[in-house]
């Protein structure tokens, strides 16, 4: 059990572990025996190891949903819903500005400089980014594009959607949390029976 100490600590601290953030830990968590061992330890803390539907991310969930747990979940869920639109907007902007085929997914790399240049050069992207950065999720109160960009990437790193492998290099990898987000979007769509499939298709306007 002692060899899982650091892993347990990371999980308890609220990290979500995927192949991008910590390959070694992710590999260990993929083993059901290890998960059982951890769960045994976590039971008195009312925690258990959970994973996203596609198994790309591991995190801790409540073992038993008591009042405190539900209170916390309500708070968190509210925040997730609030962050939904800014995050989706950001994903679309990255896809458009970098000319990607599909939507962002875990393992995709984003070069800060490249994104910054494309955004700077394109008037409409720039305006949209300006609006996005001032959203309460990204919390930028600057008018300067450069500091807006920095703030947005900083927030994405803080919230765990981006992983920066080298501290001094402005190069980011999208983590499995993005998959969790998309899963959440799909879930809400199904759960609320949102008529998203019948929406008029807007092929990229830019």
């Amino acid at each position: 059990m002692i060899e899982h100490g650091p892993l347990l600590e990371t999980l308890l601290a609220g990290a979500s572990i995927c192949i991008v953030t910590d390959e070694e830990a992710y590999r260990r968590l993929s083993d059901e025996v290890v998960r059982e061992e951890l769960n045994h330890f976590l039971r008195p803390l009312n925690r258990r190891v959970a994973s996203s539907n596609d198994g790309s991310v591991y995190f801790l969930a409540y073992q038993e949903l008591n009042t405190t747990a539900r209170e916390h979940l309500s708070k968190e869920f509210k925040q997730t819903i609030q962050s939904l639109l800014p995050l989706l907007e950001w994903m679309q902007m990255v896809q458009e500005s970098l000319g990607r085929d599909g939507a962002l997914s875990a393992g995709d790399t984003i070069k800060f400089q490249e994104f910054a240049l494309r955004t700077e050069d394109n008037q409409s992207l720039r305006q949209r980014f300006n609006l996005l950065a001032s959203d309460r999720f990204f919390k930028s109160n600057s008018d300067n594009l450069d500091s807006q960009l920095k703030q947005v990437f900083k927030r994405l790193k803080e919230t765990g959607y981006l992983h920066q492998p080298h501290k001094d290099r402005q190069f980011y990898i999208v983590t499995g949390k993005i998959e969790q987000l998309v899963e959440m979007v799909r879930f809400i769509k199904d759960e609320e029976s949102l008529p998203l499939d019948d929406m008029p298709q807007q092929e990229s306007m830019f």
């Binding site: 539900r70 979940l73 939904l84 000319g99 979007v185 769509k189």
Partner: protein
């Protein structure tokens, strides 16, 4: 030169063909740059060459005008040739007309066997050569087509920029592939065996060699097909994902007050929102385990600790108590006066007087140590000439043999 050319013409149809081919190829070479421009732009810039050259290019079956209103453009054959030479997957054609090729092969086999039957060895040799070329042409086209499919697959259809184009290109490639596979089925080896009859070279060409090539190609094509289908699934998945994201974003923008269900308080909470609050595992220094003490000691020793100037947290805004300060000041003044009185008293006698004895005698309310400090300070503070009028002796003893520390127990003073 001209005469030789004309004599060549007279010689045989083959040499005439040779000369014409060379001339046409030269024509292509001469205008290669303009022709490549036309390949890329889709039409030929008629101002880029002079009229006679333009005329030659049209007569040379290199350029044509698809219809009256259209500009001059490359003939499809040349387009195909350039696409094949440059491996340009956007325009590369896949020729899967196996039935037509087989028809030609059958005809050539008949020519060949007839010539052999007639005993026309030169003729039969000529026909066999043409037949060999035809078979190689056909297999060559197959391998070209397969290479082209692999290229497109391996580049993830990178020659078109967006996802829906890629999906269409993938569909096209799958159709071409199916046509090729259908074509392979048309090749009936029983028929070919019958055609070859007992002729060794024919059997080799039509049966054994062809069989190996076709079976290689078939397995390669099946692999391509599998991969194309997989790639298509990935494309579709990407498309679905991108659409989901943009549709949800659009929906949320249109419905700013959109309320989702209260999932956290449902009796059955959905798995994906059950994310527990963080717990920080902290620990402090504990000395209750004897075994740890050595290690903790090592840690403490390795730290650079400065205990001399403890940093007091800065407290500001406290009330300033003037009275207390004044009281201390008054006390200090009193001490100074008492010590001065001690010095004055020395003039009354001649013996040396112990400072502590005086303190006891006068019953002054000072701590012995404080008293001695003040006496010494007073003495040291006297002007040099006045100081010389006193004898001053510190009663001291060393504290330890290992250092120079000495303890002052008393001071004895007297007036000279």
């Amino acid at each position: 030169m001209v005469r030789r050319k004309s004599s060549d013409k007279d010689q045989s149809p083959q040499s005439r063909l040779h000369a014409l081919g060379v001339a046409r190829l030269n024509l292509i070479g001469k205008h290669s740059s303009q022709l490549m421009d036309a390949y890329i732009k889709g039409h030929f810039d008629e101002t880029s060459v002079n009229d006679s050259a333009l005329d030659k290019l049209v007569k040379g079956r290199i350029l044509h005008r698809p219809d009256e209103t259209q500009p001059l453009s490359l003939r499809p054959d040349l387009n195909g040739l350039i696409a094949s030479l440059t491996e340009d997957e956007r325009k590369r054609q896949i020729n899967a007309d196996v039935a037509g090729q087989l028809e030609q092969i059958r005809t050539r086999v008949k020519h060949f066997t007839d010539a052999q039957y007639r005993g026309d060895y030169a003729g039969s040799e000529h026909h066999f050569q043409l037949l060999t070329e035809k078979v190689h042409d056909m297999t060559g086209q197959f391998s070209d087509a397969i290479v082209s499919l692999w290229n497109r697959l391996n580049s993830d259809f990178g020659f078109v920029s967006n996802l829906s184009d890629k999906i269409r290109e993938n569909e096209l490639a799958q159709k071409q592939l199916r046509r090729l596979l259908d074509g392979f089925e048309l090749i009936d080896f029983n028929e070919l065996i019958e055609l070859a009859q007992s002729s060794g070279p024919l059997r080799k060409l039509l049966v054994s060699q062809l069989q190996v090539v076709i079976s290689d190609h078939s397995s390669s094509l099946l692999e391509v097909q599998k991969r194309l289908v997989e790639l298509m699934a990935r494309f579709r998945q990407q498309q679905e994902r991108a659409q989901l994201i943009s549709n949800m974003a659009a929906f949320l923008k249109q419905h700013p007050n959109f309320q989702v269900g209260d999932y956290p308080n449902r009796s059955k909470v959905p798995e994906n929102i059950n994310i527990a609050a963080p717990i920080i595992a902290s620990a402090s220094v504990a000395l209750d385990k004897v075994g740890d003490q050595q290690e903790l000691g090592d840690i403490v020793r390795s730290l650079e600790l400065t205990t001399s100037t403890p940093v007091e947290p800065l407290v500001s805004g406290g009330e300033f108590d003037l009275e207390e300060v004044l009281a201390i000041e008054a006390k200090h003044q009193q001490l100074k006066e008492d010590v001065e009185n001690f010095f004055i008293s020395l003039f009354d006698g001649e013996q040396s007087v112990s400072a502590l004895a005086y303190l006891e005698e006068t019953a002054l309310d000072w701590d012995g140590e404080t008293w001695l400090f003040q006496v010494i300070a007073e003495y040291e503070g006297l002007a040099r000439d006045i100081r010389q009028r006193f004898t001053f002796e510190k009663m001291k003893h060393p504290k330890s043999a290992f250092n120079q520390l000495e303890i002052i127990e008393d001071v004895h003073l007297s007036v000279i």
